[in-house]
Structures are given as structure tokens and as C-alpha cells.
Amino acid sequence: MTNRRDFLKMSAVAGLAAHPLFSIAQSNDLVLACPTAMSGTFSAIGKYSDMGMRLAVEQQGTVLGKKLAYRMIDTEAKPATAVRRVQEAMQQHNIRFFTGALLSAESLAMSKEIHRAGGILLTNGGADELTGTECNRSTFRWALPTYSIIQGSARPLAELMPKAKRWYTITPQYVFGEDLLKNAKALFKEKGIEHVGNSYHSLTEREFSGHLTNAIASKADVLFLLNYGAQASDALRQAVSFGLKQRMTIIVAAASGLEQFEGLGADICDGVYFGAVYWHTIDTAFNKKFVSDVREKFKISPNYSLAAPYINTKMLIDAFNKAKSTDPKAVIEALEGMKFESLTGTEEIRKEDHQVLRDFYLIKGKAKAQMRDKDDYADIVDSSRFFLSPEAAGCKMA
């Protein structure tokens, strides 16, 4: 049992340890932060992001003589919370480097705050504005804008199936969905595709039978799902139950990752096309090594939520080494125009808008009997690299 004297001794030791004089070793650490949803509906993102950060930081160990460390920040998927927690990290812990934010609204909010305070954000938000009309010198993006997603998913499918001329879309009514729809309509026009109908739905929608009934009535050749995550999974699951796989081709514009396939199962995904920002069977030496490392450390195959913070962290580390400095201004200059070997091959950070130029993938779900291992849900059908020019994207870098 702890007596009063032991308690006083422990208190004194703890007090000394907490004193700034004894925290010199800690202050020599270079701490990165990963602000992302760690609780609530999107908590799975946080779990995988943590793994990605941990792997990258542990593999590197030290940079420029400083011990590399990281801190997860729970944004609760709320922009206001994200901004407040980022402010706390900057003011109380002097953190300047942030990676991995995945949700568009919170990424946009954090981008402005981090830029104002002189930090750097490597984000994976989907909103076009991040490297478009609201671009800034502090924000870099490995994820892709909606133009690239539509061009990388619908264009190759339209070319694979030239006779499929009637497309029906189901779209979530928020910025990301609207941007996808706008780009899809432009592609339909270019390819002579008839857009036979669209069903908008709210962000809370989970019941898609009414929208699918509209799609059936339209006698479309292709059902193009522009929703994301759980909503895309629900829409696809219900579309399959309505027998739409037998009546039309189904394509999901942007799969959220391997975990989406695990949740849906092979039977539902079989024969369905998905756009993918990342897929673990990408045939590059860098990706093969990464997949092997993840499997060895975590006993899982990497998904997008794990890969994105990992590669963001690697980009930062490369920039620290290139700049030979951890001063944010020097690191920004090092990042601009940087070419590096990455998961999808040789990637480049475009100086004018800070968008990473890299491949997007069209993958096709396969039957359970054809899966080589438990994660082999889909084959890569096409990879392509489409980007608007910085001017067309609307970026005017200050």
C-alpha cells in the first residue's frame, strides 16, 4: 500500500519531470499531427489513419537529428471542432505540420486556420476548393479533385462500353456530390451520352429504394452512383437487391477503400465498377513494399484511410530532408514541384496549386471464387491521370 511518504516522493518526482527544465528531450522531438475523425460515424478513418502515421513515423525514426513523433487529433468530423483542436495543437504544443485530414468540410476549415497561423497541411479532403478557388500556400493535397475522379472512372467505362448511351445518376446534395455531377454532365456531353435522370438525396439518406425505382423506370444502361462511403454502400446494396446488376452496369464514382468491400462482401461487388484513389494491388515497387510492411506490422492489407496519411507523412519527411530545415516556409518551398516515388509511381506536387499529380484507378469487383486472397475483391481495369490546369481549377495562389 502507498503510504504518505511514498506519495510525497512520487509527487515530487512527477512534478520535476513535468517541469520545462526536464522536458528538453521532449522539446527536441519533431511532432506531426493528424487531425481526423476518431469518434462517431467516421471513427474508422481515425483508426486507420493512426496506423498509417505510426508506420511512417516509426520507419523514419529521426529526421535532421530530431526524433520524429506524432499526435492524433480527434476532429469528431466537425469543422468547428477541427479548427479548435488545431488551434490548441499550434498554440499549446507548437505543432506546425498536419497531415491526413480526410473529410472535405473539416479539411477546408483547417486549411484556412493552418495557413493563417503559418503551418502546413497535407490533406486528403475531396472538395475541389482545396486546390481550387480556396487554395493557399500552406495546403497540399494527395487526394484528387472531382474532375480527376469523373475522368478516371466514367471516361474509361464509357470507352469500354461504347453502346451504353443512357446513364442515370444518384447524387448526394452537397458540394462534393454537386461537383461530381457537374463534371459527369460535361463528360456525358463530350461522349454523346444521354443523361436520362438524376436523383438528388440528402446527407442523411439511407433508404434508396425510391431513387432506384426511378432508375429502373428510366431504362438506363448505366447507374452511376456519385455518393460516397456508407451512402454509396447502401445505394449499391439496395441496387443489387433490386436486380439492377442484371439490367444495367453499375459504377461507383469513388470507393472509400478496401473496408467498403469488406463491408459489402464479394457477392455484391462482383461485376460492379468502382473509381479508386488507392487500391492495394497497384503494381509499383513502392506500393508492394508498403503493402508488405503493413501486412507484417498490422496483419491487414492497407486501405485508403491508412495509405493517405502514410504517404502524406513521407512527403513531409522528404521535404524536411530536401529543405534541410523544419521551418514551414522552407518546407513549403521544398514541397512545391517536388517529384517523388510513391504508391502510384512517380508523383509530382504541382507548384501552382499544390495538387499532387498522380494516377486514379478504375477497378472491377470480382466473384468470390476468383479471389486469390481474402482482400482480393477487385481487379484494376484502368489507371489514368487527368487534371484541370491550375487556372481552370480556379487557384490563384497568394
Binding site: 474508422a44 438528388y200 439511407r206 425510391g210 454502400s233 437487391s241 433490386f242 463491408g263 462482401g265
Partner: protein, 285 residues
């Protein structure tokens, strides 16, 4: 076939699922005057119970029986050891306790099964669709309509045609009078609460192959259940049926008329009903 006719049929299908979800909430309020905000959590447990039992190798058909049975037994315990001590407290405390339980159960689901969703396949017999001209409808959803109708008939027969039903109806009028007649009102309360939770769990089992399972499905279900019950009339069995069908049909029809407002119009319909009939379609003053 006209798209509106297709939507009407689809709306009836949705409405029957909403009825199964809402009827337990309505019965519990009718007898116990207890607003159960943990109703969605029993729906959640039913769905995950189905998923878990199927993963363990149990036939889906058996989960339709064992899922509600297990959740009903759990609800009996919850009523006996937790809620019973709160009946005499104000409604605010009922809300606090039931919302608290719902959050605990939701977090327990996340801790055990993880935050990601999972799929539950319909049984082989109900895979595929029924095609009749332009009419296409999943066999499984037709089955759900059938279960909803069967449940309505059985519950209607129990509540209107049996001694137990008479006691429940009498209890909803005056619990004191029923107690004075020498009936064990505590046991009746527990039984009705378990029955209400079991129907929520049945709705969860039925919903699992339609929308999969995820830890946050209970919150969404609770909203729909409350709308159906308020529209139909709090405490009314027939009102839950009418409310569920109305909500399902409005949601489905609006998917064609004004797709972005399909969810919103459910609540607009509720507001309209309350303006015209403050006690709901079939509620009593």
C-alpha cells in the same frame, strides 16, 4: 407500369417495415406512458444479433425467431432492474435514462463489432426479384411486407381478442384500476416492454439484409419510429400501422416528385398531421 404506382408499392413495403419498427414504441407508451428513447438501440441489437448469429452459422430464418427472443429477454431484464425504478420520475428523467442506455449499447456494439458496417445476405429462397411487366421488386422486400401484415394480424388479435390484450388496453386507460383488480401490473409492464423491444429487434433483423448493419443505424431508426408513432397517434396500435404506411409512402413518392426532399417531407407530413389532428391520425385526446 407508371412510376408513381411503382413508388406506391415500394412505399407500402417501406411502410410495413416502419410499422414493425414503430409498433413496439407505441405499445410501450400506451401502457407505460414511458417515452423509450432506447427503442432504436433494440433495433440495432436485433440487426447485429442477426449478423452475429448468421456469422456463427445459424440459418437466417432462425434468427427471425431467436434474435427478437434474446433481445426481448434482455429488455425484460433492463425493464426490471433499470426502467421500473424510473416510472414515477418526470418524463425528462425517462429521456435521460433511455438516451443514456442507447448510447451505452451503441458504444458496446462499436467495441465488440467495430465501427465499420457489415452486410447480411438475404436467405437463398428470397434472393432475386419478382418481375411483372415493368414492375420489379426484390423478393426479400415482399417477404418483409408479408411479415409486417402477419405481425399486424397477430398483434391485433392479441390486443383486441385475448385476456392479455384486454389487460394491456385496460392498463393503458388506468394502471391503478388494473392493480386494484389484483393483477400483477409489474409483470405486465415487463412483458409489454419486452414485447415492444422484441418487435424493434424483429425490425432490425428484417432490415439487416436491406441496409446492412452499422453502429449508427439505431439513431436513424428511432427518428423514423417516432414520426410513425406521432403521426399515427401515441399509444395506438392501429395508429402505428397507419403512421408507418404514411411515412413509407410519402418517402417513396417524394423520391420521384422531389428527390432531395424525400426525407424532409416525412417531417413535413408529420407537422401537417399534428396541425390538423394534434393527437395523430388515430390517437385519442
Amino acid at each position: 407500369m407508371n412510376v408513381y404506382l411503382l413508388q406506391l408499392v415500394n412505399g407500402v413495403g417501406l411502410g410495413m417495415l416502419y410499422f414493425v419498427l414503430a409498433v413496439g414504441l407505441s405499445i410501450i407508451f400506451g401502457l407505460l406512458r414511458f417515452v423509450n428513447f432506447s427503442h432504436g438501440a433494440f433495433f440495432l441489437l436485433g440487426a447485429y444479433g442477426c449478423y452475429h448469429l448468421v456469422q456463427m452459422g445459424m440459418d437466417f430464418w432462425l434468427t427471425l425467431f431467436f434474435g427478437p427472443l434474446i433481445i426481448g429477454a434482455f429488455a425484460w431484464l433492463v425493464e426490471t432492474f433499470v426502467f421500473r425504478k424510473a416510472y414515477h420520475l418526470p418524463h425528462e428523467m425517462h429521456i435521460l435514462i433511455t438516451v443514456g442506455l442507447a448510447l451505452v449499447l451503441q458504444e458496446a456494439v462499436i467495441m465488440y463489432w467495430g465501427p465499420l458496417g457489415h452486410n447480411v445476405a438475404p436467405p437463398d429462397l428470397l434472393q432475386g426479384v419478382v418481375i411483372w411487366g415493368d414492375f420489379i421488386y426484390p423478393k426479400y422486400r415482399l417477404f418483409v411486407i408479408g411479415v409486417g401484415v402477419a405481425l399486424a394480424v397477430v398483434l391485433g388479435a392479441i390486443l383486441e381478442g385475448t385476456r392479455l390484450g384486454a389487460i394491456v388496453r385496460a392498463g393503458s386507460e388506468s394502471t391503478e384500476m388494473v392493480s386494484l383488480l389484483g393483477l400483477n401490473i409489474k409483470r405486465i409492464f415487463a412483458m409489454v416492454f419486452a414485447l415492444g423491444a422484441a418487435t424493434a429487434a424483429l425490425a432490425g433483423v428484417l432490415a439487416a439484409p436491406i441496409r446492412g448493419v452499422d453502429p449508427f443505424m439505431g439513431v436513424e431508426a428511432l427518428g423514423i419510429a417516432f414520426v410513425a408513432v406521432v403521426v399515427g397517434g401515441m399509444g395506438s396500435f392501429a395508429g402505428a400501422l397507419a403512421g408507418g404506411l404514411l411515412v413509407g409512402i410519402v418517402q417513396s413518392m417524394m423520391s420521384t416528385i422531389w428527390p432531395p426532399g424525400a426525407n424532409l417531407m416525412i417531417y413535413v407530413a408529420m407537422a401537417l398531421v399534428l396541425l390538423l389532428r394534434p393527437n395523430g391520425l388515430l390517437g385519442r385526446a
